[in-house]
Structures are given as C-alpha cells and as structure tokens.
C-alpha cells in the first residue's frame, strides 16, 4: 500500500480504512499482533487483515462485519485525525484542477495543517513531481512528516517547519503551483512568486473571510498576477429514499363519473422517489477562491496564471 499506488493485499505497516457503514469509517495502522476495536467488535490484524485482499469483508469478534478499504486521499480526508480545520474533497478537487496539477508538477503548500490537501496533491503529482510543504507549528510539521512516511509518499515531499510569511517556502524558481491556506495569505504572496518558475505558474489561496480575499487579491495584483478570480464550490448530497403521500378523499360523486374514476382508480398511497439534500453543504469549509494570474516578468507575456481560493 501507498497513497500513490494501489496494492491488492493488506500488509503489515499499511494504513487501511475500515468501512463501518454509511459515512462511518476509521483508519487503522496494520500491525502484526495488534487489535482494533470497532462497534462490531475487535479486528485482529494478524488473522483478519494481513494477507487479505483490500475490499474484503471482515467479521469482527462480536459477529458484525466491516469492509477493509485501500486508502485513498479522499478516504483519508474523511478519516484523518484533525490537528487543524481541514480542506475537504470538494474543495480539494477544485484546487487540483485550478492549479492544473498533474504528474510531475512541483508544488508549494502552506500550511500543511492536518495534511488533508497534501495527500491529494501527492497523489496527483506522483511519481515525478514534488511537494514542498511549509508548516509553522512544529508539532504539526513533525506529525505530517511521520504520516507521509507511513503512507509511503515521503520521497515526494519535503516538510519545512518555518513561517512562510517570513521565511517563504525554502525553494526559489521551481514551483508550477503554490497553494496558501494561512491567516494572512497576502503576506506570503511575494514568497509564492519567488517560489514559482520564472516562466509562470498558478497560485491558489483559501480563506474564510471576504476581507482576507480582498487583501490577497490586492497583493496578487501588486505582484502582477493576472486573471485573478474568486470562487466558491459547494457540495450538495442527495439522499435517495421513498416517500408515501396520502391521497385526499373528495367524497363520492355520482354525476361526474370520469372524475370519480380518476380519483378511485388511484392508489391510496403514492410512492415517490425523492431526494433531500443536506440543508447545508457537507464540507464544513465551503470554498471561495480568487484565481489570479501570474507575474509578468517580461513585457511579452511570460505570465503565470493563478488561482486563489478561500475557505469559509
């Protein structure tokens, strides 16, 4: 198992995702001799997991069963231990597209946070790209580095524990894309520019408040980023279910036979398949972005095109 390559079988040291039921999952570090408690009972790693194919159904000690899934950045996002507010898949998908990430991309990111986006970036840029991720909180930086190792993506990422607003990304002129998720992104814009390839690239900033977006847009424009755009993506989840609607009884009606037939021939209950949506988007951090575009170091257009987005 690795977060950038599928395996068929569960091995010692893997991180697997236990699927307990709808919207209920947990990650587990697979270790010989270890046990994991679930609400359906214990899972013994040596006998229940190791050597089994991913996707298998595992019967727990209390007789209930679960499925064991291969980790993906998306499953990780909904199961990872939160050390900070995290980015969710809806925003991650949009950021990945707006930054035009692909295998081989060199990406700078700050802050690393809980690593939710980092894993998705690594998945997309592997096997030939690299992620430079900067986190000012030491404990978090260390935990992220540890996770990258456990998830076998550490060869694709450099974690730096520094203040991106003061010290930048630690690299210059290498990045195709820069992502900012920090309280004062405008202070990091010049570092973002410095980290980018001189031919240009894209930047995306994610902020909850409109004032942050405004200041970031200004800073981006000042640094000659072009085509700055701000956007928000919201996810709506539809529940599929069946509802019964009673029919009204207008009483007997001897004169209007057609009317009567229409009323009586209909069943007393009508089944409708109906979808209800979350009253609110699932992802707590909804998404607003400014997609700026990039410095113009030469008059004839070696421009970088950028996106910055913001979180609510």
């Amino acid at each position: 198992m690795s977060f950038v390559e599928y395996s068929d079988h569960i091995q010692d040291g893997d991180t697997a995702i236990i699927y307990l039921g709808h919207d209920s999952m947990m990650p587990v570090k697979v270790q010989h001799g270890a046990q994991t408690q679930t609400r359906y009972g214990a899972i013994r790693h040596s006998t229940d997991l190791i050597g089994k194919p991913y996707g298998s159904k595992v019967t727990c000690s209390k007789g209930g069963w679960v499925h064991v899934l291969h980790p993906t950045p998306e499953l990780w996002t909904v199961t990872l231990p939160h050390r900070t507010q995290i980015l969710y898949t809806t925003d991650i998908a949009m950021i990945t597209m707006m930054l035009e990430l692909r295998p081989g991309s060199i990406v700078c990111e700050s802050g690393t946070g809980s690593g939710s986006l980092s894993h998705a970036i690594l998945r997309t840029i592997a096997p030939t790209g690299h992620l430079h991720t900067v986190e000012f909180h030491q404990q978090r930086a260390e935990m992220a580095a540890q996770e990258f190792k456990e998830h076998r993506v550490d060869h694709l990422v450099t974690v730096r524990n520094q203040d991106v607003c003061k010290d930048g990304f630690g690299v210059v002129g290498v990045a195709d894309a820069v992502f900012l998720d920090i309280p004062s992104p405008w202070e990091a814009v010049k570092h973002a520019k410095a980290a980018m390839k001189k031919q240009g690239g894209r930047v995306c900033s994610f902020s909850p408040c409109i004032e942050q977006v405004q200041r970031t847009c200004e800073a981006l424009a000042d640094q000659a980023f072009e085509e700055i755009s701000t956007l928000e993506v919201l996810l709506r989840v539809h529940d599929v279910r069946t509802a019964s609607l009673p029919l009204p009884d207008f009483g007997s009606d001897p004169t209007e036979t057609s009317e009567k037939t229409a009323a009586d021939s209909a069943p007393k209950q009508t089944n409708v398949t109906s979808q209800d949506h979350d009253a609110a988007p699932r992802d707590p951090g909804s998404h607003l972005g400014t997609s700026p575009s990039p410095p113009n170091p030469e008059p004839n257009g070696r421009n970088r095109e950028n996106v910055s987005s913001r979180r609510f």
């Binding site: 050390r83 408040c209 009204p248 207008f250 007997s252 209007e256 409708v272 009253a279």
Partner: protein
C-alpha cells in the same frame, strides 16, 4: 398599526398574550398565564414578571424560574481580545487547557453565578485563551455564552418568527417548509386584505395563520381540511385579535364532490332524517375520532375499552346507557355546529370565484390541486408547496395536459446568511433543497377548442365562467 404613536399599550406584554420566547436562535411559542410553568430549553420559567414590560425585553432567568429584568449591555465584548495571540502556532492541543472541571462548573452554577460570570471564570482558568487569536477568542466566548447564559427575550408573534420557530424546532410538523419558502407562497398567491382564499394545509396551521396575518381581518379564508376536525394548532400562536376569527371558514374536502355536483345538503336541521347527510356526518365523526386518536388521546380509547370489559351488573349498564345518550347529544350538537359552519363555507365556495389557493402539506398535491382549482375565478393565482419535487412535476404535467392555467412555474429558493463583521465577513451555510418546492400559476378561462381527451377538465369551465359573470 395605524394607531397613534403615543399609545404603546399594544407594545406591552399582557396577561393572556400569545408570545414567543427567544434565546439565540431558539424560539418557543407560549402564552402569558400567571403562575403557570413554561418549559424552555430544559428550564422551568414563570412568565408572570414579564407582564407590563415592552415586547423585545430580555430577562435573566432567576432561581425558581422567575424572570428578572436584565441590566442593559452587561458584558457584550468586555472579555474579548484584551490579549490575543497573532496566530495559533503556540497552541498545543493536549485537551488539558481548561483547569475547571465539569463539577467545578456545576458548583459555580449552584452558587448562583450568572452565565457571564461563569464564562469569565472559564476564561480565567483557560491556559490557552490568551494565546488564541482574536477570532478564536471570540468563537470561544460565543460558544460558552450559548451554553451558560440564561436569558430569554419575549417577542410578539409574527408569521416570520413562527415560521423560523417551527422550522428550527419541529420541521416535521410543517413538512419542512422554510420561512423563505413561506414568504414566496404568500407573495406568489397575492394574499391580501379583502380577498377570498382557499387554504389546504397540513402544516400545523402555520400556513393558514400566515395567510390570515396577511389578510388582516379583511376578507375570507376557507380552510379546506381532509376530514375530522380542521387542525390548526399553530394559528393560536399568532395571537390574532378575536375578530380575525370571523374571516375563517372551514370545509371538509370529503364533501367537495357533493358540493360540485350540487348534491350537498346543508339545509337540514336534523341529520337523522336525511339519510345521505347522515351517512356523511357519521363518516365525519368516524374520521374525526380517527384523527383524535392519531393526535394521541389514548385515554379515551382505553376508557371505552375497559367499560366494555367490565360490564357485570345492571347499574353499570344503565350508567353506560346514560353516558351513551349524553355522548350522542353532544355529538349531535357538534354535528349541528359543523353543519352550520359547512353551510357558510359552502356558500362562499359555491360561486367558484375564490381569489387564491394555497396548498401545502403531506397529501399528494396533484389530486388536491386539480380538485380545488375548480373553486377559483379565472385570472387568479395559486401556489402549491411540497417537500419533494416529484409530486409537483406530476402536477405540472397534469395541468399542462388539462389546461385552464398559465404561467406555471416549478421553483425553489435558496437562503444564504452572511456574517458581516469587521475583517470577518463571510457567507454562512447555504440552505437549499430542504426548504421545499413550489408550483405556482394563474387560472384562466378554459379553452373550448381542446381535443376530446381533456374534456373532463374542460367541463366545469363554462359553469365557472358563468358564475363569475353573475356573481362577480
């Protein structure tokens, strides 16, 4: 409304008033009754002390549930942002930042500390508070405030407030109708004073009350109800002046066909000599009972059941006979009352010249709409609410087929709140989908040149037109 500005008596809370209690985003309807406990957010409250104060006054809930006038602006932002960290890099989350235990807090409460004092204690005992960013400090205070502040504001009810209350507390009872959707309904149906409006709803009377509020006591509202008694507990909560009741009529839909075909007999005094009528009323009573049972009065059921089980001697038998007779009398009186009401409503419906139709609730809207549209004059708006889109698609398709309506629109609305604060402005959650769907349109005189297939629907049209001509 059109009072002179100096008489503020209607702005003061009086005994007997229907009011709405508010704390944060939580609302609850109540009536001001002296020495009567009201439960609000798991607390017993006596509202006695509110009498004489202005609406929108905030009270602190004292010991024993009495209301104490809250001194204005006691704290607000006093605690916030005295010393704030620039970011959260120094905060290590070890779950040990609060030195007060749950027991400590309970003790403070028992000592009679007010909410705001408890919050200050929590702040003083938090090792991380001063390192938090201003933003995080604010969030912390807000959260704690919600938990420990013990105040209640008393509001005058309105359709806006009651709609928000129901949607927040018991959305199932109003079929998840959101207040912005209700707002659309009232406007799309052109509800206004002096018109004659049909309402069919199973939303606890919220929709009916909202229509009545918009009509201000002028005109007629006919509640079409599915059988048994018309249910509208929510209407009381609006606290309408008593004359508003004069607007309100009711008609059971099980007599709609009889009314349409002219076979409805509303003249008979004694239903027992009219066999058809008798059948109908028996049915009413039966349905009524079913409804009452549904509403949850199992006592009566069990009482009846036990009385059947315990028949042993004659005395009991006689008693039972007497009770039976009294009940029969009562039932008769009720039926007579009901007959009168139905006659009045029938007279209003007979002209088939109503000005508006509002349908909302758990019944399949398609037959309801097709049945009740017949009572509208031409060129009148109607609106149908459903929690689900599918039944409204059916309505739409059916109406297109049978004709007699124009401007059909199937819509829903999204509601988005924004937090507007210096440097912290942002959209909040988008509420959508859950607010339900609306089908709206306007009636027109029915076209006679349609193919035979749609004859049924076309049939009543000339009648309708003629009625409008003669009675309008």
């Amino acid at each position: 409304m059109a009072d002179n500005g100096d008489d503020d008596s209607h702005c003061r809370i009086k005994e007997g008033d229907y009011v709405v209690l508010k704390r944060g985003d939580i609302f609850k309807a109540a009536q001001i009754q002296l020495k009567k406990k009201v439960i609000f957010e798991k607390q017993w409250i006596y509202l006695d002390n509110a009498v004489g104060h202005f609406y929108r006054t905030t009270f602190e809930i004292g010991s024993g549930g009495t209301l104490l006038l809250k001194t204005p602006k006691e704290m607000e932002s006093s605690t916030a942002a005295k010393e704030a960290g620039a970011d959260n890099r120094n905060i290590v989350d070890d779950g040990k930042s609060q030195k007060l235990t749950r027991d400590d807090i309970e003790m403070l409460k028992e000592q009679g500390l007010k909410g705001q004092e408890i919050i200050q204690q929590l702040i003083d005992n938090s090792s991380t508070f001063k390192d938090k960013t201003e933003y995080a400090q604010d969030k912390y205070i807000k959260k704690k405030k919600k938990k420990y502040e013990n105040t209640v504001m008393i509001l005058k009810p309105s359709c806006r407030i009651l709609a928000m209350m129901y949607h927040g507390r018991e959305p199932g009872k109003i079929c998840h109708l959101r207040h912005d959707t209700l707002a659309q309904m009232l406007t799309l149906a052109n509800i206004h004073a002096g018109s004659k409006v049909l309402v069919f709803e199973t939303c606890s009377g919220l929709v009916l009350g909202a229509v009545m509020e918009r009509m201000g006591g002028f005109g007629s509202v006919i509640q079409m109800y599915p059988g048994g008694e018309p249910l509208r507990p929510g209407v009381d909560s609006f606290g309408f002046p008593s004359h508003f009741r004069d607007m309100l009529h009711e008609f059971p839909i099980c007599h709609v066909n009889a009314l349409l075909t002219g076979t409805l007999n509303t003249k008979t005094k004694d239903p027992s000599i009219d066999s058809e009528k008798s059948v109908l009323t028996a049915k009413d009573v039966q349905q009524n009972k079913a409804d009452v049972e549904q509403q949850g009065s199992p006592e009566e059921q069990s009482r009846e059941a036990s009385s059947v089980a315990n028949t042993s001697d004659d005395q009991e038998k006689e008693d039972r006979e007497k009770r039976k007779e009294a009940k029969a009398q009562e039932r008769k009186a009720k039926q007579e009352e009901k007959r009168k009401k139905m006659a009045a409503a029938a007279a209003l419906l007979d002209g088939r010249n109503a000005d508006g139709l509002v349908i909302a609730g758990r019944f399949h809207p398609c037959p309801v709409l097709l049945g009740l549209l017949k009572f509208l004059a031409p060129s009148r708006p109607f609106v149908v609410y459903s929690q689900h889109k599918e039944p409204l698609i059916e309505c739409y398709t059916k109406l297109k087929e049978v004709g007699g309506t124009v401007s059909l629109r199937l819509t829903d609305t999204w509601l988005r709140h924004y937090q507007v604060m210096p440097n912290r402005t942002h959209p909040l959650l988008l509420m959508s989908g859950g607010g339900g769907y609306l089908l709206s349109g306007t009636t027109v005189a029915v076209d006679h040149s349609k193919p035979a297939g749609s004859l049924r629907a076309e049939e009543p049209a000339p009648k309708r037109l003629k009625l409008t001509n003669t009675e309008g």
